[in-house]
Structure formats: structure tokens, C-alpha cells
Subunit: 269 residues, 2 copies
């Protein structure tokens, strides 16, 4: 079976016909942005390459600095390019993590003592750089879904995941405090197989998962935590893990930098 | 099991502490936007309600028209509000379609003669308002995944789906022309059970699916076709359908208005 979905070729998606400048009504900055986009699509600038700077564009196109800046801003807003402080504007390298929703959550992953997240990384260096474990009263939306009393205590695990030094994922898990009390789930390091292996030991083995997916623009706070470039949305995944008899045992709210991920679900008809 | 994922409460997500204006360094338009956002979150303005206009905001906050306009612009960029030409700015009603990836593609759906899309709509009025069926040389990315020779002919089905009068989904399917020649797949109306039922009749019953999901900002063309509000990303789903022996028989590239959809995947551990 083919490995890569054709939709991933964003250069192809964005291919636009070469526009003539005679009688062209587009604003100048848009025309410059279109020219640069075409050059990127033609491979003249590859992923990670530096684009011409404001001074270059001013000279080449005989425009004011603000026009040059606006042109580069268009490409950044589209997520095609990104600015690096003091270094210029660069072609965005889109080399996403592939997150396999279903295989990843198969028992053989966590049952054998591997953490489920390890399966995501495909030998790339995804690390947790922030982790915080607390006990808190359940927010209303959580108590409703976990089917516990309003404001009853939940174990909250907040983590940030970093890939190649770039934060890519925020995850907050909620578990009913009474069922995880005293287990490694309440510690930073949950041990081999992670939270799901521990839940199984406690008699609440996850047997069913539901993942719900949305996308929207990040809040300011999310953009800061994930160091998200302009023009890039977040993907929200809310996963609910169910033990026997449909008992919800964990809710994991995840916020992903959309530029860093492809989600994959493989299943039979 | 709970029906609604807690992450869906975007009002809760976006709740921000009430800011004092004493010594507040936020620009004025940002403060006004924050005040309006809080009022929306508190339920003072419900989904579909009209927000105060520029004149109202100028009078209430003693600011210039541009400041009032910027404040409303912030809420639109965040996707919380949307402008309707000549009528004002309204609180966005987020009432998404729930698209159940796995159940929807189960054989019992299309095997029994129902079109797979009918399962998506939950009795809401999702209709195809544009459909175009052509035969074209396969684009390179398609021929690679379909495992056919470069530029060999593919049947291309382009459709637009509209919900309650709003376009929400663009879908383009590619199928190898030789295997679908002469079947209803090459016609606008594919008949009961749709494309997958016809493929089964032709001896290419889909037995496995892969869905790959990404999100990014829409291109201008996509924004126009989906009538997308500012500050709203698109979700891209690329589905590949495989017949026996892993033979790819269809690629469906979908582009979804992210404000209109929640994707759901339910599966066992």
C-alpha cells in the first residue's frame, strides 16, 4: 500500500497559473507574493531556504519597504514561509509527524510495556519537556463525560511534547482520583506502558477509545506554548478511554500544531 | 457513553480572566474585543446574535471608528464572530456536523444500498449542489498512490456538499478509468449504495480504508468555494479505499470547513 497520501503535496495544491502583470489589478504586494510562491512551487526555493529579504525585494521590484514586508507577510499568513528573528523569512519545511490513531492505541503497544507515545515518533526525538501532575476538582465538562459528581477530585496530567526542539503537542489528561490514588499515574513517571498499563493493573483496562477531532486558530496562549507560526491552525483531539461496560476512565485533551502533524486512521470496512 | 466531548465547549476554552483597565497595557481595541468575548462567554450574546455595531462601540467606549472596527475584527479573526454583509457582526453558531469515520464506512452502510454520505448527516440536510464527472490523465500524486502508469486515465468525480445552504465540503475522487468504465460510477448519479456498492459489483469491493487528516488555512479558491469566514482553517481528509490484496481503488481528497465539522473515530483497543 502506498505510504504517502497525495494530498500532502501542498506545492501542487497551491499551484496557480502564472499571472501576467499587464492590466493586473492585484495589489503590488500580492503580485510579489504570487511570484515568490511560484518560485517556491517550482523548487527554486526549497524547504528551509531563505527567501529574498525586504531589501532584495525593494530593489528587484522597485517598491517601498512596507510593500516588500506585506508580500513576505502574505506567505507567512498562508503558512508557506516563516520568519526567524533576525535571520529573515524562510520556506517552511513541512515534515510532519505521522500519528496513527488506531494502531497506536492497540493493546500490543502499551501491553508490552511500551508507552503509547513512543509509537508516534518513528525514531524521531519526541520528548516531554514539561509535565505537571495535580489533583483538582473536575471542571464541569470533565465531570459530565467522566460521569463523576460535580467538582469531585480528578488527577490531572499536563504535558508538553517537543520534537527536534519545537513544541508540537499539549496534552491534558483527566482521570477520576479515587481509582488512580496511590498508583504511578499520580507521579510524573508512570512507568513502563504508561497510564494505560497502570489502569489495566488497577482493574480498569481501556478496551475502547473515541477520538474527536476539530481544528481552529490557536488562542494566544496556545500559540505561545506551541511557538506556532502565523497562519497556522491547531488540531484538537479529545480522546476518551473506556474500560469494560463503557466506563470512561480517562479524557485526554490534546492541542497539536497543525503544521507538525498528519493524523492517520486505518481500518477495515 | 457520553455523547459530547468536553473539548467542544469553546466558550470554556476561551474563558479569560476579567481584566482591570487600570494600568492595562493592552491596546484599546484589544480591551474592547476582550470585553465582547467575555460577554459572549457569559451568554449575554448567544450563537447567531448580532454584536454591537461600530457606532455602538464608538459611543460606549468613546473610541474612533477604526478602533471599534479593529475590535470586531479580532473576534472575526478568532472565528468567534462573523460578519454578514450589510447586516453587522454576529456570534458564530458552532453547530458542527459529526462525521463518524469508521462506522460510516462499514459495509452495512453502503452494502444495504445507502450512500455512505447519508450516514453523516444525522437527519440534517446535507446535499450535493455541484457535481462534475470527467475522465482525465492522472496527476502524478494520484498515479503514484493508485499504482497506475503515469498519466493513465482516471475517472474524476468532483462534488460540493452544502448544509443548510452553506457549502461545507469539497470532495474529489479518483478511480482507475479501466475498472469503472461503463459503470454508474462514470455518471452523476451512482445509484443506491454509491461508488462503493458499484465497485463491489465490479469485483473491487473496498475492504480497507485509510484516512489521513491535516489542517491548514484555506487557499483563496477554497475559501471562496466553501464561503469560509476569516480566521477559519480547513481540514483535509485524504481517504484511500483498498480492495483485496491491498489494491487501491479510489482516492478521495476532501476539504472541509473546519467550523462545520467534528470528526469522530471510535475503535477498540
Amino acid at each position: 500500500m502506498a505510504q504517502v497520501c497525495p494530498k500532502l503535496s501542498r506545492e501542487e495544491e497551491r499551484r496557480v497559473p502564472m499571472a501576467s502583470t499587464n492590466g493586473d489589478r492585484r495589489p503590488k504586494y500580492q503580485r510579489i507574493a504570487d511570484t515568490l510562491r511560484e518560485a517556491i512551487q517550482a523548487g527554486e526555493y526549497g524547504p528551509g531556504d531563505r527567501l529574498p529579504g525586504e531589501n532584495d525585494l525593494m530593489a528587484t521590484h522597485d517598491v517601498a519597504r512596507m510593500t516588500a514586508r506585506q508580500a513576505l507577510g502574505v506567505l507567512q499568513a498562508e503558512g508557506i514561509a516563516e520568519s526567524r528573528k533576525g535571520a529573515g523569512v524562510f520556506v517552511r519545511a513541512f515534515r510532519p509527524l505521522r500519528r496513527r490513531g488506531i494502531q497506536r492505541l492497540a493493546q500490543e503497544q502499551w501491553g508490552a510495556g511500551r508507552s503509547i507515545w513512543a509509537a508516534d515518533t518513528e525514531k524521531r526525538d519526541l520528548v516531554v519537556d514539561q509535565v505537571e501532575v495535580t489533583e483538582e476538582p473536575a471542571p464541569e465538562r470533565i465531570s459530565v463525560v467522566l460521569d463523576v459528581e460535580a467538582e469531585s477530585k480528578v488527577c490531572v496530567r499536563r504535558r508538553r511534547f517537543v520534537l527536534d526542539g519545537k513544541p508540537v503537542l499539549l496534552a491534558t489528561s483527566y482521570l477520576p482520583a479515587p481509582i488512580v490514588a496511590g498508583s504511578a499515574i499520580t507521579e510524573e513517571n508512570t512507568g513502563p506502558g504508561g497510564v494505560y498499563a497502570r489502569l489495566a493493573e488497577l482493574g480498569y483496562k481501556p478496551v475502547h477509545f473515541r477520538e474527536e477531532i476539530r481544528s481552529r486558530m490557536p488562542s494566544k496562549d496556545e500559540a505561545a506554548q506551541l511557538n506556532i507560526s502565523a497562519g497556522t491552525p491547531v488540531i484538537l483531539i479529545c480522546r476518551t478511554a473506556f474500560a469494560d461496560e463503557g466506563r470512561p476512565v480517562e479524557i485526554n485533551e490534546m492541542t497539536l500544531d497543525a503544521a507538525s502533524y498528519v493524523l492517520e486512521y486505518d481500518f477495515d470496512a
